[in-house]
């Protein structure tokens, strides 16, 4: 069992696309997989054609267990289940803050699912507040998509220094490059320098491709509707790296 968050404190970096495609690939490889859409924008839920509605909304989410279990939907793919998003999750931060052990709430909510799935992937909203701390406490590993631009790299530095300050293990944070434009020299340069600066950089690039954006039209993972496309190959490559570098049994000991 492993839990992996697709997380970034910067928006529009390709978290959801990565979460959707990685969860699909994990399920195809035989792992019983649950993808949790924590983002009230509910893009993941939309991609899987599921209604963005949780039974008894955010209240049910916080109560967890059977309240939450009832909301889980099977996707169109074997081995892959989805916990849909709900608009009421927009207040999750405030709700967590009011509770005791406010930073451990998500961990508590996910615990009962750990026995039922081989892999749980969280698609997280942009946040660096109490919800972010809940995520860091709840998962085994965090995977951050990084666009090779100065701002994106700067935000990542912010995250790492936040983690250090608050005693979260930065060794469990991995990154990969997302929305890479091969024609831009700056992207090339940053990829090189960033790989040296940060630990845990997976040598895997998701290019900036129209095919990935078409996921919104097809409402399917790109790996499912265009399995031989360049986009699919890049996600396949990312999944291989995630398996070998993050999830392999030796690594997990």
């Amino acid at each position: 069992m492993a839990t992996l968050a697709l997380y970034s404190n910067k928006g529009g970096v390709g978290k959801t696309a990565a979460a959707v495609n990685l969860s699909y690939l994990a399920a195809q490889a035989g792992a019983k997989t649950l993808i949790c859409d924590l983002d009230p924008q509910s893009s993941t839920t939309y991609y899987f054609r599921v209604k963005h509605r949780l039974k008894s909304q955010a209240k049910g989410f916080i109560k967890g267990r059977k309240h939450l279990y009832k909301s889980i939907k099977g996707t169109d793919y074997e081995n892959l289940d989805l916990l849909p998003a709900d608009f009421s999750l927009r207040n999750l931060d405030a709700t967590f803050a009011k509770l005791r052990r406010s930073k451990q709430q998500l961990r508590k909510i996910l615990k009962p699912f750990k026995n039922q799935y081989d892999l749980i992937i969280l698609d997280c909203p942009v946040t660096i507040s109490i919800l972010a701390e809940n995520i860091l406490n709840a998962v085994d590993y965090t995977l951050v998509p990084l666009i090779p631009t100065t701002l994106s790299v700067r935000t990542h530095r912010q995250l790492l220094s936040f983690c250090k300050k608050n005693n979260y293990k930065t060794g469990k944070i991995y990154t990969f490059f997302s929305m890479v434009d091969r024609h831009k020299k700056m992207h090339h340069d940053l990829i090189r320098s960033v790989s040296k600066e940060f630990d845990g950089v997976l040598q895997s690039y998701i290019p900036y491709l129209a095919q990935i954006e078409r996921m919104g039209i097809y409402r399917e993972p790109v790996v499912a509707f265009a399995p031989t496309s360049a986009a699919s190959k890049s996600y396949q490559n990312l999944w291989d790296k995630v398996q070998k570098t993050i999830l392999s049994p030796e690594k997990r000991k």
């Binding site: 035989g30 889980i72 939907k73």
Partner: protein
């Protein structure tokens, strides 16, 4: 409804007709048809089947499911087929299979062909809410091969129960029958004429209490001969160590039966075959010893301090070389004229009609009397020997007691069908515990000696070997400490065995009531 349901279509009702009818009410998306082979695996002695498990491969994936259930317990991707448990990638599948298949190799039982078409039932968002899979199992890829089975699977999707409930109701109303329990596994194995569970090295002999003792003994010996024959053929293939092991146990039991079921055959015959089977057993002593040490490789390494773990490798390398020579010798022995003649004469003896002219003393005795007498005498011998050891524990005496117990155990197993099953099994279990202690003690003694002696054989040529000797020394030390622990546990184990409850049960089952 959470589980998949399997339906049989009524005769003459075609799958296309069904889909046409459903299309009036539902949006349906047809997936590309899948056509692939799948192969089922198990060990030679059906270890997975005995645990109601089915292991099968399709494409580059390996699946484990429960017999008569369709839900997959574990799936893994494989690049090549694992043959032994240590070939499996670490994970849940390996963890579950390890204690079951242990050192046995996985054999392909059968390979069949499966053609399946999946129809997805969609809701207004185009989301799959239930799946229908029409599946045909064929003996081969051939286009016109007659199907072994054809089913329609109704597979609910979590979170959308209504759709599958409605469909299930509709199917039942249309006259589809739910096919329960009959697992395709049996049908598929039947194609290649394999009977699940047909081989087991465990004694399964049905005797009648009134049978003549010589006839009953022949039934037992015949069963053992079959086990020898079945395994002997596979020893040459060297697929795993257990073919030889089962073969040897059958020989040992044969020798024990000849020695312990006294005076049922003419003395000359008994003596001749006792000697013959001693010879047959000896043929493979060395090979079996080496198998045991090589199987213990990981256990031994785990006993060593980490710094020495690698240093022991040359020992196992040496043992492996020695084993390949030993195997050659065994195969030569099994092909020899002498061996051929022994088995041939033995089979002829077991099959020949009885001659009443030269009957031995116990030949005509109803077997139940002989069984009771022999078991009870042996039991008394064990109790007496054990009590002596309690007073004065000598290694040599523990060894003698171990042999006595083994003989008693074999007798009880040969004749178990003559006694109330539950009661005799209780006693066999109790005896097993005592045997476990004595067996461990003996194994440790033998292993210490063996390792000590092997140091003289190892070619002392280079520096590395000195380290190996240190590692062996350390291993002997650990084994010796364990041996003392086992020895200390003997008194308690034996006292448990001779508890008044067990004694009473032995008396009840095996003494003649006045």
């Amino acid at each position: 409804m959470r589980n998949n349901l399997k339906f049989n279509l009524p005769d003459g009702y075609k799958e296309q007709q069904l889909i046409r009818e459903l299309a009036d009410q539902y949006a349906i998306k047809k997936e590309p048809a899948i056509s692939e082979n799948f192969a089922i695996y198990d060990t030679f002695d059906w270890r997975l089947f005995n645990k109601s498990l089915v292991l099968y491969r399709s494409g580059n994936k390996l699946f484990l499911r429960k017999l008569a259930k369709s839900e997959i317990i574990h799936t893994i991707e494989i690049t090549s087929l694992p043959v032994f448990i240590w070939d499996f990638p670490d994970g849940k599948l390996k963890k579950q299979l390890e204690p079951i298949i242990k050192m046995r190799t996985l054999l392909k039982l059968v390979e069949v062909h499966c053609r399946s078409k999946t129809y997805r039932i969609l809701n207004q968002d185009g989301k799959t809410v239930t799946r229908l899979v029409y599946e045909k199992i064929l003996p081969s890829r051939e286009k016109y091969a007659p199907a072994l089975a054809a089913h329609l699977w109704l597979k609910p999707v979590k979170g959308y129960p209504k759709y599958s409930q409605n469909l299930a109701k509709r199917f039942e109303e249309t006259g589809f029958t739910i096919s329960k329990k009959e697992d395709i596994y049996f049908k598929v194995l039947d194609v290649v004429d394999k009977k699940p569970g047909s081989y087991s090295a465990k004694l399964n002999i049905q005797l009648d209490p009134d049978m003549r003792s010589d006839d009953a003994t022949k039934v037992i010996l015949h069963f053992l001969l079959q086990i020898m024959r079945i395994n002997e053929a596979s020893i040459e293939k060297d697929l795993d160590t257990e073919f030889l092991h089962d073969f040897r146990v059958a020989i040992r039991r044969t020798r024990s039966a000849l020695g312990q079921i006294k005076d049922v055959f003419p003395m000359g015959t008994t003596n001749r075959f006792k000697k013959d089977f001693a010879f047959v057993g000896e043929l493979s002593n060395q090979l079996r010893d080496l198998d045991v040490y090589l199987l213990k490789e990981d256990t031994y390494k785990a006993m060593l301090p980490p710094v020495l773990q690698k240093d022991i490798d040359p020992l196992f390398e040496y043992l492996r070389q020695k084993r390949s020579r030993a195997l050659k010798n065994v195969l030569k022995g099994l092909k020899s004229k002498k061996y051929g003649k022994i088995l041939h004469d033995w089979e002829a003896f077991l099959n020949e009609p009885r001659k009443d002219s030269d009957t031995a003393a116990n030949a005509k005795l109803p077997v139940i009397y002989l069984a009771r007498k022999r078991i009870y005498m042996k039991y008394q011998g064990v109790v007496k020997a054990g009590n002596l050891i309690i007073e004065n524990t000598e290694d040599e005496m523990l060894h003698v007691l171990r042999i006595q117990c083994k003989k008693l155990r074999y007798l009880m197993e040969f004749f178990s069908s003559l006694f109330p099953l539950k009661k005799i099994n209780v006693l066999i279990e109790q005896l097993k515990k005592l045997q476990g202690n004595l067996g461990d003690f003996n194994d440790l003694c033998v292993q210490e000696d063996y390792l000590f002696n092997i140091t003289r054989e190892l070619p002392a040529t280079h520096q590395q070997l000195k380290k190996t000797l240190v590692a062996i020394g350390s291993l002997i030390g650990t084994l010796d400490r364990e041996r003392k622990t086992v020895k200390d546990a003997f008194a308690k184990t034996f006292t448990d065995f001779v508890s008044s409850k067990n004694q009473g049960l032995f008396r009840e089952l095996f003494t003649l009531k006045p």
